[in-house]
């Protein structure tokens, strides 16, 4: 779509209608989420006034805001009622919410209508704004392919949700790792199939993704099992809630590189497919050579993607720790070891996926000598 806008070509009628639908959809979703108070069971208050008093706690040295908040309730039984609420928050915003005028807050109320406490800021609108931006940009940039990608993405979310739901119900008896190995295979088959359609190319990508996943995860599993030692598993977020904590760690490693493995497999099998279609008599050695050339280009930036995506989120926690005089190295080991392991294991998966995909793609895609002669 974007070509038409940039180069000012004549827009077809169909295209105009599509753009109108997209704009309409975006506006409706955003207006809706700004007025969805009636859907909430939790009372929501709109802040009309905030007074910031400073208060120094005696237990700690830090400075706190003691915020006196006035507002009007927007939904439920007490709609329209004016209420006051106090909010104690550290000036640096490490914990809790710094309320501003115009914010909407979720609050807890007793049955008689007294205000108990502040739950948090109503954030759903920001998620919806970003989601709308994502959907709009993907459709504008990629058109039909964008819609396909969106469908595959939402199917992945549904599969993940079902897997999480099953595990929530049976978390004490079910083996988390086995469940997610099964789910990963499902993820691979579904997403490659939806975005690339039924073809030999897809088949080759699916088989090589599954093979790479098992081989690289097996390798990582062995290294961790043998040389594991004292892992700081307990610093992982949410670990206390997970009954099967060791397997939770392995699942983190397993899933982290999954997308990257699929990426390598489909890139290699589609480019080899391209080469074979152009010249069915192409030699095996030539295929291997160009396959390696292509993969060299991807690996460097892919490992970088894994690093920045998986390792950067430890920054706030490590920062808080080192500001509290924890040594940098200790803080990095304690809060970031698991994330760094995930970065390295997924990088290993990325590199291993190359020869595996090459091998499988050549065997599946290359026509036998008989077929060529015919």
């Amino acid at each position: 779509m974007i070509e038409l806008i940039l180069y000012g070509d004549k827009m077809s009628k169909k295209f105009k209608i599509e753009i109108m639908i997209l704009i309409l959809f975006s506006l409706v979703s955003i207006i809706f989420v700004y007025n969805d108070h009636f859907l909430y069971k939790t009372p929501i208050m709109k802040v009309t006034e905030v007074k910031n008093g400073t208060k120094n706690s005696e237990m700690f040295k830090e400075t706190y805001y003691n915020q006196e908040i006035k507002g009007i309730i927007k939904n439920g039984k007490y709609k329209g009622k004016e209420i006051k609420i106090n909010n104690l928050v550290s000036k640096t915003g490490v914990y809790g919410d710094i309320v501003e005028k115009g914010n909407e807050l979720l609050i807890e109320m007793s049955k008689t209508g007294e205000v108990n406490e502040l739950i948090g800021v109503k954030r759903d609108k920001y998620l919806v704004i970003l989601l709308v931006l994502f959907i709009d940009s993907i459709i504008l940039v990629a058109g039909k392919k964008g819609v396909q990608t969106l469908i595959s993405f939402f199917i992945n979310i549904i599969v993940s949700a079902i897997a999480i739901f099953i595990f929530q119900k049976k978390f004490t008896t079910l083996n988390l790792l086995l469940l997610y190995i099964g789910v990963s295979v499902l993820f691979i088959v579904l997403s490659l199939f939806i975005t690339n359609g039924k073809s030999k190319k897809t088949l080759s990508a699916i088989i090589s993704s599954i093979a790479s996943l098992f081989i690289s995860f097996g390798l990582a599993f062995l290294i961790v099992k043998i040389y594991g030692g004292e892992l700081s598993i307990w610093s992982m977020e949410y670990i206390e809630a997970v009954y099967d904590y060791e397997n939770f760690f392995y699942v983190t490693i397993l899933l982290c590189g999954l997308g990257a493995i699929m990426d390598i497999s489909i890139t290699i099998s589609s480019s080899l497919n391209e080469l074979i279609e152009k010249d069915p008599k192409i030699k095996k050695s030539a295929l291997i050579k160009s396959g390696r050339e292509i993969s060299k280009d991807i690996v460097g930036t892919m490992t970088n993607v894994m690093l920045y995506t998986c390792y950067t989120p430890i920054v706030p926690m490590v920062f808080l720790a080192i500001k509290n005089n924890m040594k940098l190295f200790d803080a990095l080991t304690f809060y970031g070891e698991v994330d760094l392991i995930a970065v390295f294991t997924s990088s290993i998966s990325i590199v291993l996926a190359i020869p595996i995909s090459l091998f499988i793609a050549i065997h599946i895609l290359k026509p036998s000598k008989k077929e060529v002669q015919e």
Binding site: F134, L255, T303, L340, V351
Partner: protein, 257 residues
């Protein structure tokens, strides 16, 4: 154990990629070093947002110019990346500030309980900086793939005009886009498993407005938006710069004769 994993990775990279593999390894460690540098400089009291922009620039420079060398492709990518970064920065700034996305929520209370909150640096800024550094990897990845591919296309078909070149860049971008979205989604999905186990029985409206959940979702969505936005921007700038370079080279050759 990290040492062992790191050595395994090095060996594999050397076997598969030779010198290119070694460069990849160096860039990976440079990335880790940059994140550590970010933490240290932030600790000394520098502004996290300004710092994060500098770190992003350094990360882009090191990845592009070490792995791919200094040439028209990487220069074009660098400019496009900076434009996207500026846009994402504006978006993130508004959302983090209005939505109070900074800091920690209930499940981290135990971990942060012993610490003083009086750290002298605003967590809002730290959060914005973190988001910017988070997405830089994927933007670089997409951008360099597109500009290299467009360069290849032009080498093989010299007659293409800039509009046709732009179209082929967009085609390459679309192919990368769907796999990038997959990669990003799976890279952070494990956190959601833990989250939903912790908040067993939580209502939909509770989860949707919960800080820790929103932090992850926002990270995912802005990485998506960044990696999509970079496609037309890189394709457009490349279509102009690559074409101009071709004409320029052509003139030079003529003069030589």
């Amino acid at each position: 154990m990290i040492t062992l994993l790191s050595i395994t990775l090095l060996v594999l990279l050397l076997i598969i990629g030779r010198s290119r593999g070694f460069k990849t390894y160096i860039t990976l460690y440079l990335g880790i070093f940059l994140i550590i540098l970010y933490l240290l400089l932030m600790k000394s009291g520098l502004n996290p947002i300004i710092l994060s922009i500098i770190i992003c620039m350094l990360a882009t420079l090191s990845t592009l110019f070490i792995i791919n060398g200094v040439n028209i492709k990487t220069k074009t990518s660098f400019v496009s990346i900076m434009i996207v970064l500026l846009f994402i920065f504006t978006l993130i700034f508004i959302i983090v500030k209005r939505g109070n996305i900074q800091g920690f929520s209930m499940e981290s209370l135990e971990a942060i309980g012993g610490y003083s909150y009086d750290i002298g640096t605003n967590m809002i800024d730290v959060m914005i900086g973190m988001y910017l550094i988070c997405i830089i990897g994927t933007i670089i990845d997409t951008s360099i793939s597109i500009s290299s591919a467009m360069n290849e296309v032009l080498e093989n078909n010299q007659h293409l005009n800039s509009k046709e070149l732009f179209k082929s860049g967009m085609n390459v971008g679309r192919d990368i886009m769907s796999t990038t979205i997959n990669t990003l989604y799976f890279a952070i999905i494990a956190n959601f498993i833990g989250f939903f186990l912790w908040h067993r029985g939580a209502t939909f409206e509770y989860v949707l407005n919960y800080k820790a959940f929103d932090q992850e979702v926002i990270q995912l969505l802005i990485s998506f938006i960044g990696s999509i936005m970079i496609i037309p921007i890189t394709a457009y700038i490349s279509s102009i710069t690559l074409k101009r370079k071709k004409i320029f080279n052509f003139k030079e050759k003529k003069q030589d004769r």
